[in-house]
Symmetry: D3
Subunit: 127 residues, 6 copies
């Protein structure tokens, strides 16, 4: 008895699971934005904590966006949305900008860029 035949059997499913949702990136981006807004009124200890947490949340934004971009979107979506690669590239870069800076506008820009991606995502789901 063999666990698997030596000749690989191709899987035609898209495991992991087909559940994708831009809300994951959005919630983390909102967290980055909220941190940037609260930052000026924090005491010094919590200012440092805010920076630690902002790094983590912005990193999660990058991860969730990468999964959407590379795992969910398919060549046919690219044909319909030729700017898709660039939108993801700029949004992921913006997540890094939100790490580098303390300006609330950097968080707002990030949320807006994810909203644009989410709009495309939901259009492709309806199609």
């Amino acid at each position: 008895m063999k666990l698997f035949a030596i000749k690989p059997v191709y899987a035609h499913c898209d495991l992991p699971c087909g559940v994708y949702d831009p809300a994951q990136a959005k919630i983390e981006a909102e967290s980055v934005l909220a941190i940037l807004k609260k930052y000026p009124e924090l005491d010094e200890h919590n200012k440092i904590r805010a920076i630690i947490i902002k790094e983590q949340r912005a990193e999660l934004v990058k991860q969730h966006l990468m999964v959407l971009w590379a795992d969910y979107f398919k060549p046919e979506h690219l044909e319909k949305y030729p700017d898709l690669h660039n939108k993801f590239w700029l949004a992921i870069k913006q997540a890094s900008n939100a790490k580098h800076h303390l300006d609330v506008s950097e968080g707002q820009k990030l949320v807006e860029q994810i909203d644009e991606i989410a709009k495309i995502f939901w259009e492709t789901k309806k199609a």
Copy 2:
């Protein structure tokens, strides 16, 4: 010059950031459910992958629920929803059940338990 005074300064903000959303647990639970539904039709290699990913997704459900329960909910919520502790306990236990079993109903039960918690969450946000 000292970075912090020796006497600790109390922070009165609730950093991290006040952004909570039961959607995070829900999306991971839907992923567990989708994996359980697809499982029977997968080849053997991807059956094993499905189990690996199901462990991870169910673990994320547990993490997201713990954050909601311990970081978001406050004593005044407990007074209004005296069963809140138990609901979280059972939902986190159900995430472990969804690790232990391959039955689709275990995933459905998990999603339903999170929906109940989400309903309470959104009631408290409106209050």
Copy 3:
């Protein structure tokens, strides 16, 4: 040959493994407490490092407590210790408090709350 029958086979064991020990949460809490005690005498670079490490250690306390609470404790324990949910809730919240503050007493309180839980744990193991 099928790896698994389509009808799921129920597992009746409690894998992972049955090894639970409140020492895991305790050791991390002692680390949080030690950091808080050393904090005032650190230079500025290591003050920041202390805050980074305190976040991580307090997070591990939360994780270890959640595992004990949701994976080890069973309904029969709840009947005997009706305050169990609340004890865990407050201890996990205290781990967050120890993130928010620099006061040594926040770490001491955390260690004491874990000691209370550990006492109950060991009583249930003897029972």
Copy 4:
């Protein structure tokens, strides 16, 4: 004394650190390839371990590629290499393919795609 002025100070450095190296993705991809080659001769226990480790290594490939793509490459590189977005997209997708399949050729293709990206990377470093 204030830790930071309320008006955010812009950082013009590219911290983290400027150290990028496609060798990181390459080494993980070689690990995926080596696992796929060894797979047929493994016993059943280690076949399962191989799948677990292949998931992790392929995931690291995706992470390292995302960092190169979004953190290292700049708009001027895009102008010179207009296919850059697509090369990264396909390479990250290929890392997912190498998770889905057991065929050695999937690992070889992944290594080759990373080699192409590395070639561009080193050209831009010399420029």
Copy 5:
């Protein structure tokens, strides 16, 4: 005002925190051992889960041992226990063996090797 003087200030404390305890490695090793003991009686789904969890627990053993070895032990301990390097090397290698194999004896050997290290650790603490 500067956050830090340009000339680095040396820290003479051993942050992180001075809390070390071989119990951390021991508990994870006991978990590996318990998994190996339960393995034969598990159904197929939970056999795969057992292997996943065994990988994780054995990895944690390696991490905890590395921390003890490199962060806690000092040159004066080496003089008194000239075999210390080798003991750690063999114990960490044994954690890898417990990943590779399903034999209960591999787990028992790992627990015994950690017990030996713990004995030395507690002698150095008393000294």
Copy 6:
């Protein structure tokens, strides 16, 4: 049909995969060094970010060195390089030093110690 015979089957391969490369530790150490060099010119927000990232990179150095030491090197290498244990111990300790301090020389020393280990590694590969 049984997934595995109850009597464990010994694996004689060295999965994971046989791909080892000291470049992994080296790249992270170069990142630590680059951070230390850039540190004095950073603004205060990015000084804190630099410390966060330095902790992570130095931790990865420790992980990669531990894998090389315990997974790659074999007793026959120890015979030929009797100082090998000590070299790894000092290099891992040096990664901790690079966490504790802001002095560029701590990063340079780390890179040099890894270079020495890499030299031995490549000699053993050629042998």
